[in-house]
Symmetry: C2
Subunit: 319 residues, 2 copies
């Protein structure tokens, strides 16, 4: 079974681990969001790709869900001693090595997809991990500065990590997406898939950014395979993260039904909501999307695998 | 008193510490060798500049004479786990931060001299540290491969650190030196100096490389200030390092007298040899260079300060 998953960071990575547990023999291609990518200290950092790679490769810090386990922060402390920031982005020593290798390979002319493959040679994540694009895309967020009252634009990471989404996101723009091309293999994987899944990743800045690369949304819509998503919103709030902030920026309510309708029946064949949102089933199905209510809390691997199984069953049912 | 010192790495840095101790109020400008510079992992590494900066700034690993004290090697181990080398060059985590800052600033368009000044803002070495040039110069060494019997050219660091100078250096070439220009302030410092010193640094790949930048040798020769050198060779062997290997490549014997004659009376007004080499005094003076025999082992700060005092006294005597 060939499964294609459009994944962001922590939520996507954890879902993928459940999916691997549910169908260990499946051939899984992950199309990873690169809109979160940022240049820090002259190095190219790809937080979402790395979170997937570390999580599936056994290198993740399980407690925080990102970064390396058994991490130290000597380089970061030394950079701060030079007065070089930002200090709000937590790059550890082990993690730095990944960004150093990536930056060196990119500098030598390799595209990000080839670099990602080389990094995965070490981690053996058990999936084929493709960046959504080899072209640079950076999600920017428009905010009103709470100090000055002026409108300004910040990098998504600055909004998310430094500001902790404490002010409203007035607009979310994947800069460069319009000119980006899908990375080699992306459209082919979508066309050849037996099932396409949207994990409970952020619908705006993770899955939404992937779909913003011209050709990817169209390929998903045109795919013969059923497309099933899992709601990242449970009981009117994001399970983790601050998805409500960026949903508001695109005029979407933070409800399981509203996110389904935001993707729409052009993309989605099936949608899973949490049992707490069972009342959403009717509304989603009225829009032409098959919907089921099942437990959607990724509390442990078994629960997550059960969610993956439910998604695959819903895919079969909507075939 | 304005003192200009042409310095390599460990020997130069230790001598400078003695000089600072001997004349704490002196205005010292260090012209640092950059021929040892190497790109590793996409980062610009300047071993000699950093050794001077760390030594005078209190960050050096005192036992080995290079690298940072209290160092860890997490990044290097992780790079090796990616199969990315070289593994023979010992970059520690603290040291990596320096190279990351430098590389980022160079990438942003700052010349190496401005980058070095910015790094020294943290370390406060108590001297003005100038790279010999803002242009890229890399010392290469021609060897005969002991395995294949073929002649090939390696970077100086590969010859020195990886091969530990175990094969003969057949030629030593400071690639790029002919096209390089002295960094801003270098010629001005030489012209304005009251004393110019050659510490017991490597006469070929440290002081020799600095002198290979067009304009620097001429400025030293034309300077009104006395020029005094200290022999890095004691009793027919280098005090530390493998200077004999690279001296042979330029046809110079490993003796205190031969090194003085290699610099020549066009450059040197005075030359200090170790008391073990007292018989060299006559030969050196016959060539027109004032020569004294004094203890030249930098066993501790007091002994090194005494060497610096002897050099300054010889400068006064040859004025």
């Amino acid at each position: 079974m060939r499964i294609v998953v459009l994944a962001g960071g922590i939520g996507g990575a954890r879902f993928l681990r459940g999916l691997q547990s549910a169908v260990p023999d499946a051939d899984i291609t992950v199309i990873g969001n690169t809109g979160d990518d940022i240049h820090l200290f002259g190095l190219k950092v790809c937080p979402d790709l790395d979170t997937v790679m570390y999580t599936l490769g056994g290198g993740i810090n399980e407690d925080q869900g990102w970064g390396r386990t058994d991490e130290s922060f000597t380089v970061k402390e030394e950079l701060a001693a030079y007065g070089v920031g930002p200090t709000w982005f937590g790059l550890g020593d082990r993690d730095f090595a990944t960004h150093i290798v990536r930056t060196q390979m990119l500098g030598a002319g390799y595209p990000l997809s080839a670099v990602t493959e080389a990094l995965c040679d070490r981690w053996q994540p058990g999936v084929r991990l493709l960046p959504m694009s080899d072209d640079r895309v950076e999600t920017h967020v428009a905010i009103t500065d709470s100090q000055t009252g002026e409108r300004r634009v910040v990098h998504f990471q600055e909004y998310w990590v430094r500001m902790r989404a404490a002010v409203d996101a007035e607009a979310v723009v994947p800069v460069g997406a319009e000119q980006a091309k899908p990375a080699p293999g992306v459209l082919e994987a979508i066309a050849a898939a037996d099932v396409i899944l949207f994990p409970p990743s952020n619908p705006v800045v993770s899955v939404g950014t992937i779909l913003a690369v011209p050709g990817i949304r169209e390929a998903v819509a045109a795919a013969g395979a059923p497309v099933v998503g899992l709601s990242p919103i449970v009981g009117g709030a994001p399970v983790r993260g601050m998805a409500d902030k960026v949903l508001a920026a695109v005029g979407v309510e933070s409800t399981a039904a509203a996110v389904a309708l935001h993707y729409g029946p052009e993309l989605l064949d099936g949608w899973l909501v949490d049992t707490a949102d069972a009342e959403a089933v009717t509304e989603v199905e009225a829009a032409g999307i098959t919907c089921r209510a099942v437990p959607l809390m990724m509390t442990d691997l078994a629960a997550t695998a059960e969610m993956a199984r439910a998604a695959l069953e819903l895919a079969e049912a909507s075939r």
